[in-house]
Symmetry: C2
Subunit: 357 residues, 2 copies
């Protein structure tokens, strides 16, 4: 099967080879050294400011989002959440569950956020802003420099879910002044799902040290303490962490995060050009390089996804809920070759010929 | 390297082959069917009562322990915790963090629990008992029928951490009347770490439905709801779940949980007989089949572990904290052959000859 979802994605052979061996024991100096290398490379690729730290949780990206809401924020915060789709909604729900004083900025699906929409909340005592840099459900990449400049002016702590944006879109933690950036193993890191990554600038580290613990498993305080010696509080998804190490080192050897971003941008461009003549309307303002969300003009999205799977051995990515028949997504992250892209483009043209698109 | 730790453990070729392919997309009918099969096989191997359910969390075993404390118990409970080592202590800490009214039954390291120790807490309004069936840090297997009979008489909800005991030691959820049983992927299931398993009898399911949500990521309510259709609320460690499926089906084909238990018991017996003449004192009353904890009479445990790793390419399992130099452990779970066992036995005898044991 060819996999064009936005995660889990396809992995390269070097990554797969690692998981073809039994998981090594991990309370060893060798594994600690590897984890310290993972931390250093993640911080470098994120352009994190001096004094930043990075921890790896054995969880989905939602685990990282919840750990940020639980560990970095507290009940004295007044929080803004940008809600432009499923993942913005998740931040809203997490803030409600943990009783944060929260205001959501609700956007129409597929729409960008503009400065004047943020301006409404200026000077009102807000202390933090949560945003899914790339709202993966709609494909919209928010204008991060604009959001960051608002946060700086207003003195807001900026927490960035970059789960599907890391390595796909421009992301400089220091330039943005972001306190925390989150990502996951199964997006552009292109290894198995099971690990989420939380990078923390000094502003977030101070808050974590001062805040009370509310959950042992998702404790960033505990994760940070153990990570000082390259370890985790509990048995992590060791194999996935070894795969992450191989990927980070390969990206470094090939020229770093900027080179990887250009590679993903090229995959996205080729696919978008290849389907431009088809009855598929791009629905995102300012799309991320990670994914293209389209509205099929003639057929239900669920049916297109089923046909691609059953007749062409291709996975495309469905949308959930009310939009299930209106929107589907094509991912550009993971080990996708030019030839893979062409196979999907040809399949969609073939469907058009047969009248199923 | 030969791995004789108690997790992660060695996997067989069929399991490893699965991880040598890219992770498939999982919001599909095919993956749902596989997950429903995983649930059914887990419940069968646990002899779970009718109406039980089983969910799979992307977390370590501690995630499952915390989910039980958060989702099954509430602040009206009065909880007993058996604390005979690191994992008993973890249940104590989890109960404190979540403000449960809790009493710990503290045991000396390596000691069994006796009926008269439990009797002290009879008739005092306790509502639940948490126990690590096999206290992995000391190797002690508690007398579960005795504990279960006390719980039945006193009307206590019994929550069993069987993380390292599942498939290694006798475990019948219905006979014990256990409300919940926990395990993990990297113990006798012998696949990668990253998945914990929570089996729930109707008594636990009722409480989960009635209790308030305190954590989204570790929500059993949400996990149960999604598992009805063979799915998970968030992207799980898909590859590890595929490996679990292969293992469960292989165990079923070979005769089920009882046959697997006999296999592990045999590995344990062979190893114990093979090292009986060495200056290694067994320290556990009633040892589990999963592990043998020993006190080396002449050399520090940490040094023995280092020599085994560096000179014999064998991982044995260290103990943490104050016992680091006093105790080490040899695991019997995972893909360990008779020949592997002999290699370790020979290595320890060689060390004795060289004066390093």
């Amino acid at each position: 099967m060819l996999n064009f979802t936005v995660g889990p994605v396809m992995s390269d052979d070097a990554v797969l080879e690692i998981a073809s061996h039994s998981t090594p024991y991990f309370r060893t100096p060798e594994f600690s050294a590897l984890m310290l290398e993972n931390e250093a490379l993640m911080l470098r690729f994120l352009s994190a400011p001096a004094g930043s730290r990075c921890v790896f949780l054995t969880s989905s990206g939602t685990g990282a989002m919840e750990s940020a809401v639980m560990n970095i924020l507290n009940d004295r915060d007044k929080v803004l959440v940008v809600n432009g789709g499923s993942f913005g909604k998740r931040f809203v729900e997490l803030c409600r569950l943990h009783k944060r004083d929260m205001t959501e900025i609700k956007l129409d699906f597929g729409h960008a956020l503009h400065r004047e929409q943020l301006e409404l909340y200026a000077g009102q005592g807000y202390t933090a802003l949560l945003v899914n840099m790339h709202e993966t459900s709609s494909g919209v990449l928010y204008d991060m420099p604009m959001i960051a400049s608002f946060c700086k002016e207003q003195g807001l702590l900026l927490i960035v879910d970059a789960i599907s944006a890391f390595l796909a879109d421009e992301l400089d933690m220091e330039a943005l002044g972001a306190a925390a950036v989150l990502t996951g193993s199964q997006k552009a890191l292109a290894v198995q799902p099971g690990i989420s990554v939380v990078a923390l600038a000094p502003a977030a580290l101070e808050r974590i040290a001062a805040n009370e613990e509310v959950c042992m498993y998702l404790s960033l305080k505990d994760a940070l303490k153990n990570a000082e010696r390259g370890q985790t509080p509990f048995t992590p998804a060791v194999t996935t962490l070894l795969q992450i190490n191989a990927r980070l080192k390969a990206i470094e050897a090939a020229g770093g995060a900027a080179v990887e971003r250009r590679k993903i941008a090229k995959v996205a461009r080729q696919l978008r050009e290849g389907i431009a003549d088809l009855p598929l309307t791009m629905i995102s303002e300012n799309p991320s390089n990670a994914v293209t969300a389209v509205h099929p003009e003639h057929a239900p999205a669920t049916e297109i996804i089923r046909i691609l799977k059953d007749e062409y051995q291709i996975w495309a990515c469905p949308n959930g809920g009310a939009l299930a028949d209106e929107v589907f997504r094509i991912g550009h992250i993971g080990h996708i070759t030019e030839q893979d892209n062409q196979t999907l483009i040809d399949a969609l043209h073939d469907m058009q010929k047969k009248g199923t698109l």
